[in-house]
């Protein structure tokens, strides 16, 4: 195991941010961490990075206890923060050099690390430009380069694709896969379900400071395989239909997004649910079924949409 978190507790006054959480991440995985706003993902990563002290529990990274070997462990961990944490008035090269120096790299390792990190992120030709001259995608790539300069064994990426164009997003996702193929274990935190689905070998869903589900995408889908998802398009948004649907014994969950009502039912027979639309006088324009996705798993387990807000 590259990370072993046991019985972790973190309180902020009366707020229990991490609630007796345990987690294991194997070496070589791309581990996806999903959770809604305030679920405790950032607190969890901050504790793993030694930025936040824990009230209870232990964290072992590379088999060593974090509290006792923090400096040594940090030499092999990289963080791509959600915010673009680079100096706007320094060039890309100077930014990457700075982080390389912070990891105490020798002159030779520093040069090699900087060259590799810039090349990996496709910024070699822009190394003398300042981030203020970069597009959002380029800045995100520089943010990644700063975390790769010391060639970490473990890299934690917190929402690395927020606010960028699809082309840059694909570039970053491919980079994550490539990093992983080079032997780097990745913890990938994202609100983009499709990203997690496409690149993560293991996924954990965090809610209210606890891991409420963990496994591969298939294993998680299995958790709600007996559920049926029905998507009903209606002519005009009607929120009262949700209460009606939720009151039905066969309906596990219902929600509305614009003109589409999404119904999760344990019963394959959806007549009862569809009748509710007729009874409420809601005009149905389209009906379709859906195979369970991670989004469905997430909704079913947490009762909340993943993108209610960013954490």
């Amino acid at each position: 195991m590259i990370i072993e978190v046991s019985d972790l507790v973190k309180r902020y006054k009366d707020n229990l941010a991490i609630d007796h959480l345990s987690l294991q991440v194997k070496e070589g995985e791309i581990f996806g961490l999903l959770g809604p706003n305030g679920a405790g993902k950032t607190t969890l990563t901050n504790t793993i990075l030694g930025l936040t002290a824990v009230d209870q529990g232990t964290i072992k990274i590379f088999g060593q206890e974090l509290r006792k070997n923090e400096r040594e462990i940090k030499r092999h961990v990289g963080l791509v923060p959600q915010d673009i944490a680079v100096y706007e008035d320094l060039s890309a090269l100077e930014n990457v050099l700075l982080f390389g120096r912070l990891y105490g790299l020798s002159r030779k390792a520093l040069k090699e690390g900087v060259d590799d990190a810039l090349e990996f992120t496709g910024l070699t030709h822009l190394q003398n430009k300042r981030p203020s001259q970069f597009s959002g995608g380029m800045k995100r790539r520089l943010n990644i380069a700063c975390a790769l300069v010391h060639k970490p064994k473990l890299i934690i990426m917190d929402e690395p694709t927020v606010g960028i164009d699809p082309q840059s997003r694909n570039y970053i996702l491919e980079s994550v896969k490539k990093l992983n193929s080079m032997g780097c274990t990745v913890i990938y935190i994202s609100h983009y379900m499709e990203e997690v689905e496409s690149i993560c070998s293991q996924i954990a869903i965090v809610d209210k400071g606890r891991i409420i589900a963990k496994g591969t995408k298939e294993e998680l889908s299995q958790l709600i395989v007996d559920d049926n998802v029905l998507l009903v398009d209606i002519e005009s948004p009607n929120y009262s239909i949700i209460d009606t649907l939720k009151s039905l014994p066969s309906v596990k969950d219902a929600m509305i997004d614009d003109h589409t009502v999404r119904i999760v039912s344990a019963d394959k027979n959806m007549n009862e649910a569809l009748s509710a639309f007729l009874k409420k006088g809601v005009t149905v324009t389209k009906v379709s079924t859906n195979t369970p996705t991670l989004e469905d798993v997430f909704l079913t387990l947490t009762g909340r949409a993943l993108r209610e807000g960013s954490n």
């Binding site: 901050n46 930025l51 400096r71 040594e72 990289g78 963080l79 100096y87 320094l90 700075l98 700063c146």
Partner: protein, 368 residues
């Protein structure tokens, strides 16, 4: 040393930082030195003795200050209304007491809040000391004393006296300027660290730094070191301007003054770094910088002599690094060496250590 090197780069790239670090103290020096250098005291003298000595003394004072006519009746009003900075009363028998070797005190009154008369007071004190010395040599013989006095007034001794007075005034001006230099350093060196560190926090670079093996103590120490380097440049510039441009009198060695200013700068930087540990944004940092620096400067005697403050304020001043800096500089300017300011330097160093520890105290959480 990554943070140190990075800060140097940030200084070089920020023209505002570089400009301010040089301009603030320079502006303060020019204002302080120009202002104090042109002041000339007006003294009112009431001569009840009316001897050759007292008349000669008044003539000598005229070379140093404007002398106004005052009487016993109006002397108080003249002083209060600011028509004179100082009133001197020469009592009957003053001259004979000096010649007989039992010098009578020369009564002098001045407004407490004014330090304009300080240089003149020092000059008169020196003049009277010379008279006492001549009286001693004359062994009570009036004729011998006046012969010596005539020589004193005619020969080179007079030039020496004037030179001593010039130095006293120059020392006073230097001290005034150094008070403003301390204030300038205080503003710059508290504002700069808190600005840069708070910027790191606002951009989330601060949190990111500590995902690397860098410790908070090392981060703070490297910040302090980089500002010390910048402070060196500023102090060199300031001393060069004071010495070259204003012929400031620094006592036995300008190097001693440099050492005290450098130690004081480290205290100011440590305060700035400690401040950055508690503020959340640059607005708070700016507001607190002014809130801290001005009272520290006022209480510490940067703008006026500590002695003119009430005794409880003087006691309170002992808890400010500015007061210890001013005390050390005053001693140096008035002829003492570094060994005489060991206590002041030790107290300043203790201030620096305390603020550094406050800044580097490992809080439970770096990230919030």
């Amino acid at each position: 040393m990554a943070v140190f090197l990075n800060n140097l780069k940030r200084f070089m790239k920020s023209k505002l930082t570089l400009g301010l670090s040089l301009m603030i103290p320079i502006v303060f020096i020019v204002v302080a030195f120009s202002g104090s250098g042109t002041q000339r005291a007006t003294v009112g003298i009431i001569d009840h003795d009316g001897t050759r000595l007292t008349k000669q003394m008044i003539q000598t004072i005229k070379g140093q200050a404007d002398v106004a006519r005052v009487t016993d009746k109006n002397q108080r009003d003249q002083l209060i209304n600011g028509h004179v900075d100082m009133v001197l009363i020469v009592d009957k028998g003053f001259t004979s007491s000096i010649i007989d070797g039992r010098p009578m005190e020369l009564k002098g009154y001045h407004v407490t809040e004014s330090n304009v008369s300080a240089g003149l007071g020092a000059f008169i004190g020196g003049y009277l000391q010379d008279m006492e010395l001549m009286a001693k040599q004359a062994q009570g013989r009036q004729q011998s004393f006046y012969q010596a006095l005539d020589q004193y007034n005619q020969n080179h001794l007079r030039l020496n006296v004037q030179s001593a007075d010039g130095q006293a005034r120059q020392k006073e001006s230097t001290l005034n300027s150094l008070g403003f230099v301390i204030y300038g350093c205080l503003i710059m060196l508290i504002a700069l660290p808190s600005k840069l560190i708070v910027e790191d926090k606002e951009k989330k670079i601060f949190d990111r730094f500590f995902t690397t093996p860098l410790s908070l103590k090392s981060y703070n120490a490297q910040h302090i070191l980089s500002y010390v380097l910048l402070a060196n440049v500023t102090i060199f510039t300031m001393l060069a301007i004071l010495a070259g441009g204003f012929h400031a009198s620094f006592g036995p060695s300008i190097f001693n003054v440099y050492v005290v200013l450098l130690v004081f700068s480290i205290v100011a930087i440590s305060i700035g770094v400690a401040l950055s540990a508690v503020v959340k944004n640059t607005r708070q940092s700016n507001a607190l910088t002014w809130l801290i620096t001005t009272p520290l400067a006022m209480l510490g005697g940067c703008f006026w002599p500590l002695e003119i403050m009430p005794s409880f304020m003087q006691k309170l001043a002992n808890f400010t690094p500015t007061a210890w800096g001013v005390k050390a500089l005053t001693k140096l300017v008035y002829g003492n060496g570094l060994s005489d300011v060991i206590i002041e330097l030790s107290v300043l160093s203790a201030f620096a250590v305390i603020f550094f520890l406050l800044a580097s105290w490992r809080r439970t959480d770096i990230a919030h």
